[in-house]
Amino acid sequence: MLKIMKYTLSDLLRSRWGLLYLGFFLLLTLSLLWLSGDVSKVVISLMNVVLILCPLIAVMFGVMYFYNSREFTELLLAQPIRRSDIFWGQYLGLALSLSISLLLGVGLPFLLYGLFGSTEIWNFFVLITTGVFLSFIFSGLAFYIALRNDNRIRGFGLAILVWLFFAVIYDGIFLLSLILLRDYPLEYYSMVATMFNPIDLSRILILLKLDISALMGYTGAVFRKFLGTGLGTALAFTALLLWVVLPAWSIRRLALRKDF
């Protein structure tokens, strides 16, 4: 598994798309830091980019990579290697390469800017961690979709739909339900509802570190009380971890049964 992962990783890191992704983050972070000069504001601006872009790139790139390396995968399948090793290796390689691009692309400019001297280091840390989690979650989902669908068009369509669902549609339905059910106490409902969407969960985690004053009022107090504590944060990260494990496990199950 490690060998396949390493191969995938080096293949992707040297590929044009991988470099482009890295370059984009480098350029964006550098220019944001250079223009605003305020580390905490840059973290907020980056938050939106990371929350939208990381899942999108991960899911699209994952599907693309799977379809493109199909011949190589078939070759590997002919060898005496365990199936789960092949697919997990590829999946981990992909997710790691995306994470490394994110880490370097966002991390290097911040380091240059003197991150360790500033008080924003924890905010930055949460931003990067959630970004890495999102990369893992959505590349896992991408692999699952690609494994299920041999039809490329269908696969790409589904991938985009999944991203759209978590990034936009879910929030829309969530908001609608909040308005429709507004006569009931909704604090706990909304807390549970965010757990079911990794993007929402990441956003709340970052916001609690940044925008506390706004969230603290009214409903936010419940969130803060829960997620602001060590236990709550641990639980939120556990939920994110579950979001990583679930697709990975499904990949294995599907890979074992699939007829190539």
Partner: protein
Amino acid sequence: MTLRVSILLLLLGWAFAGAAATIEVCAGCKVKTITEAIQQATAGDIVLIKSGFYAEGNIVVDKPLTLRGEGYPVLDGRMTEEALTITADSVTVEGLKIQNSGHNQLKDLAAIRVQRRKDYIIRNNILFNSFFGIYLEYAGAGIVEGNTIIGKAESEMNAGNAIHAWYVNNLTVRNNHLSGHRDGIYFEFVSDSHIHDNRSTGNVRYGLHFMFSNDDAYYCNIFDQNGAGVAVMFSKRITMTDNLFEHNWGRAAYGLLLKEITDADILRNHFTDNTLGIMLEGAARIRYENNVFKSNGWALQISGGCEDNHFTRNNFLNNALDLVVNGRANNNSFDGNYWSEYNGYDLDRNGNGDVPHRPVKLYSYILTQAPEAIVLLRSFFIDLLNFSEKISPALTPDNVLDNRPLMQPVS
């Protein structure tokens, strides 16, 4: 003739006595208790209290005296009694440390009480663990300055105010440090009074609280980390300038609450890191100029019945939401402010944006309907909603806008 001479002599005698008579109180002195010293003293005398521990129960000051502490002598109320009750005009109390005065809901016990008298000066005292700190009732002109009043309040129900004024006029409260009480300063039926350079912090309810008080001014104060900064209720003609409202946050926290007040001026204040900068309910004829609203959750929330509120030359910087308006805009105006969210242009370079700014977002409207929607703050979906609403307003009030938003922040 003889009458005049005798009056003159009497006055001279008073003046002489006033200048000379200093009664020292200490454990080793001739006079050992403060009560005894007050009994011996004549009007105008100075009672000099040396450092030491005095637990004499309730001390009544019924003559115009100066009570002066040296090295902060401790007056202890033993948790049952009021330490000092002032029932004479022209009493000065300074340099005392008063602690553990009684807690009593029925009698509203205080560390220092002034009853129906004027020209008092309460200066540079330290009051610790009192129920009410300084309680002024039916009092005339006086000064409360340089005191440090620290309480141990935990809930609104079981706490008194640090400085409590009830039916007072021409009062000056300055340079005090107030914390750990229900309200830092409480004014009820207080008129023509000034509050300045105080710091009110960590109080359970309000940093400063006005009820039915007219023609007062507060300026250059700091209100931070209170349940809520300042509440001005049922009052008229209050001037609020150069204050700092900071870190007042929590479920129902705001920097400044205006409830049923009219004809006020709110100028050059800073509102930073509050859950809600200013909350308006039934506020009318108020001018807001040169204030700075920075990093608040909501900068302004305007509820029903607010008329003639005019906002100009204020800075709205990086608030999660600048303005929430319940109901219609009435005739409040928001022209000529700087909004950090404004993204219009200024082609004629006159410093004012050419496109009106709409400070009310669709999201803030949704929040008034379903407050739980706060969990979607800064999400992509909300950004989309706000954007589409901005292009064609359907739900947000269309007459709440800044017709000439500033391009640069007001310095």
